[in-house]
């Protein structure tokens, strides 16, 4: 990846689409996604990988885009909040892409959100969790989500929504 230069661009897959990105290779992925690609999901919170508001999935693994240089994800698949329904459809072999994933639906039903700025990270991380653990206990949810902060204090609603989504996904599977 040290060979990547600004003029060649960096190739990666974002939400199912092959992209060549022209930002300098040392640019943190966050600024590429929010700037060059104008995506609204990943967003700036601390720039220090401490809060999770910039999280994306890189090949399915939750990653802090604010400290991840573009060059480090060359050739990989990035999923942002916007791409979660398509990813869900693909993984569950659905005929069409639903407007929202069961997790997003549960967040709405629980009216869990207050300001909602942290929900990018919450949805990304909880998606990762449910992919590996379809029936997490409350303790497992708290442990998995512990690196994601919510300043409004909506943790109880998020926990409820994750349980609800997990139950619904198990029923549908």
């Amino acid at each position: 990846m040290a060979d990547q230069t600004q003029t060649d661009g960096v190739q990666l897959n974002v939400n199912g689409e092959a992209r060549i990105l022209l930002s300098a290779p040392d640019t943190p992925l966050l600024y590429v996604l929010s700037g060059e690609l104008q995506l609204k999901g990943p967003r700036f919170g601390c720039g220090l990988a401490q809060c999770g508001s910039c999280s994306v999935l890189v090949d399915g693994v939750e990653t802090r885009s604010c400290v991840t240089p573009l060059a480090a994800v060359a050739g990989k698949s990035i999923t942002t909040l916007e791409g979660l329904p398509a990813k869900y459809a693909q993984e569950h072999e659905l005929d069409s892409v639903p407007p929202l994933t069961p997790l997003q639906e549960a967040m709405i039903e629980e009216q869990a959100i207050q300001c909602g700025y942290c929900y990018n990270g919450m949805l990304i991380k909880a998606t990762e969790l449910l992919a590996s653990n379809p029936e997490p206990s409350t303790e497992q949810i708290k442990s998995a989500m512990n690196g994601h902060l919510c300043r409004c204090g909506t943790y109880p609603g998020i926990i409820r929504a994750i349980h609800k989504a997990a139950a619904r996904m198990r029923t549908r599977a």
Partner: protein
Amino acid sequence: MNMKKPADVLPLKRRDLLKAGGALTLGFTWQHTATAQSTSTDGFQSGPPDAEQIDSWIAIHSDNTATLYMGFAELGQGCSTALLQVAAEELDLAMSQISTVGLDTHLTPNQGGTYSSSAMRRGGPQVQRAAAEARQALLQMAAARLQVPVASLQVDNGIISGTGDDNVFTSYGELIGDQRFNLAFTGTAALKNPRDYRLVAQAYPRNDIPLKAAGSYTFLQHRRLPGMLHARIVRPRGQGAYKDGVQVISIDDSSIASIPAARVVRQENFVAVVAENEWDAVRAAQTLKVQWRQADNLPGNEKLFTQMEQGVTNERIAVDRGDITAFAAAPHQSVFRATAPYQAHGPFAPNCALADVKADSALVLCASQDVYNTRSSIATLLGLPEQQVRIQYHESSGTYGHSCWDDAAQAAALTSQLVARPVRLQFMRWDELGWDTYGPAHVGSARVAADRAGNILSYEYEGWQHHWSLIETSAQSALGIPAAEWPPFPAQQINPRTLGGMYDIPNMKLLNHHVPGLDYLKGAWLRSPMDLSFAFVSEQAIDDLAFQLRMDPWQFRRRNITNYHWRDVLDAAATAATWEPRPAASQIPADAVLVRGRGIGLGTHLSSYGGAVADIEVNRQTGKVRILHLYGAIDAGLVVNPSNVENQITGQLVQTASRLLFEEVHFDSRQVTSLDWNSYPVLRFEDCPDITPRIVQRLDEAPSGAGEEVMAAAASAIANAFFDATGKRMTMYPFTPQRVLAALNNYG
């Protein structure tokens, strides 16, 4: 003049229309909003619109929909949904037929700032009266058109009928669509009977949540202006004494030569960098070498409280009744002193603003909760007449009071003026935490006494804190405006409602010591301003009286309360927690490492009433405190949207847990050192307690605000639970393991 069904305007029969409900109006709301909220200063008249005119509040469109113009900010508290419920209720519209626009000095009336839980308390009744008056005018128009008396008319989803003929009706849109009412707002129209409410007091889902969950919601941070530059401020990492502001000795421009696209912008001590590319601006701000003048004149955390208490203060007696010398003769006395730290707002998204400043006008997009006030300060800063400045509110992350939104707005405006280009300026995490206007520190001292029967006889409180900062750092740096505090104003000083105001106490004296604030950190209102500190001291002293009397703390409070609001929130919290009466600290196991306790407390801010119960666990070996469960009850008068208020209670309880266990701004003799989420930790998932919110609904009373009124109660419930668990009292928060161990080992 009887009007037969106008097929060209209303192609459906009334029944079909009603069935169609909102579907008919699909697509209209955002269209109106987008038009109204364009980021342009052309074609709009500078506000505020005349609040004495109905047209300033409500517009009816020809498609039988309405726009509500409201002067309040959506902060994630749901007021943009709840105020629509109020308006739709009085207008007899469906929720899908009404929308609102964002706070904007060119569009929305000046209803003052969105703080002190004001949106529903102050805004609710205003919106209700305006909607009722618009409805009254529309019914009079309909009566004339249909030639039937007003009294026989009925309205359903904006369709007016009552002629006795199903095919003869009219609609709001038909009567006045897209034309002005030209009607004075008298506030005299009859209001709907609360028993007839269809929408108000219902848990209507918030209209912003689906977009936020989908990731398509446009936060302020997502906004862009054509041709804009990215900007970052450059300041020392962490503020010093407020009076010193920012002082530049020298700037080494060559230090950012490796980022050729970035350049330095400076006016006096205001320094920023700009670049076409955001990452270049971020890097340049971090790389730029600036020599600052910084003094070693702060007390630091160690000497803070002694300096506040021992320095010269301005004194004001807030309450003085009866004779507090009754204390001396009382059989049960409690004297309790405790302290509270500076705490930060720490909005999850550091503040951001966009500005386009031209020679004779300015547009600023920011997260100000008081756009007219912000306009005034920006106009001064830019040297423009107020009427030439347009301020728009766009939602950022939750901010819980006055974080850096005005500072960021000023910095963006100044930078745009200096570079003659539109600018998007965002604070970095260390800017936001390091240059916040913090919730001020507090020293409190209570002396309370009771008779043998358990009646509180005397209550005395002294509180020390400084006021809020009036001048933002950007203006201070750029124009050399000296630091200044807000003039005396109740919310900055000791609060008689939280300090013993819930009890019937014959002898009471409250003394406020205003600590001159310029030698300290910057301060401003932080959710439930100062009340956590007050209740932490006051309700522990009250609790101690119950302990001395060997009375249950709930029962003790109950016998000293006659006000039904206070009694009901106290009972609601206790009932939710299945409180079993017993004296506090009466079940402490002798040698267990983990001990549990339960506490109760009361408190509020300037209105409404809060009661709370806390269950906690203390590890006597490590000093780690876990809050297991918080129960919180609010009496906020009429609750328009119970789901919103339950969310507000939940957020308040979790934030209170965070503030009691983790939050403290650290600073040394030179500057603040809490600059990120490691040096300013907040509560995480693993420490999140279970939460039980309770609403005491009052259909026949006015809304009184629910955004912050249970925090003081919860803070004191947590403190009292610690005593119940351990038999010791905490005299400062946050409850760090070190402090807990000191409290367990050092006294009592």
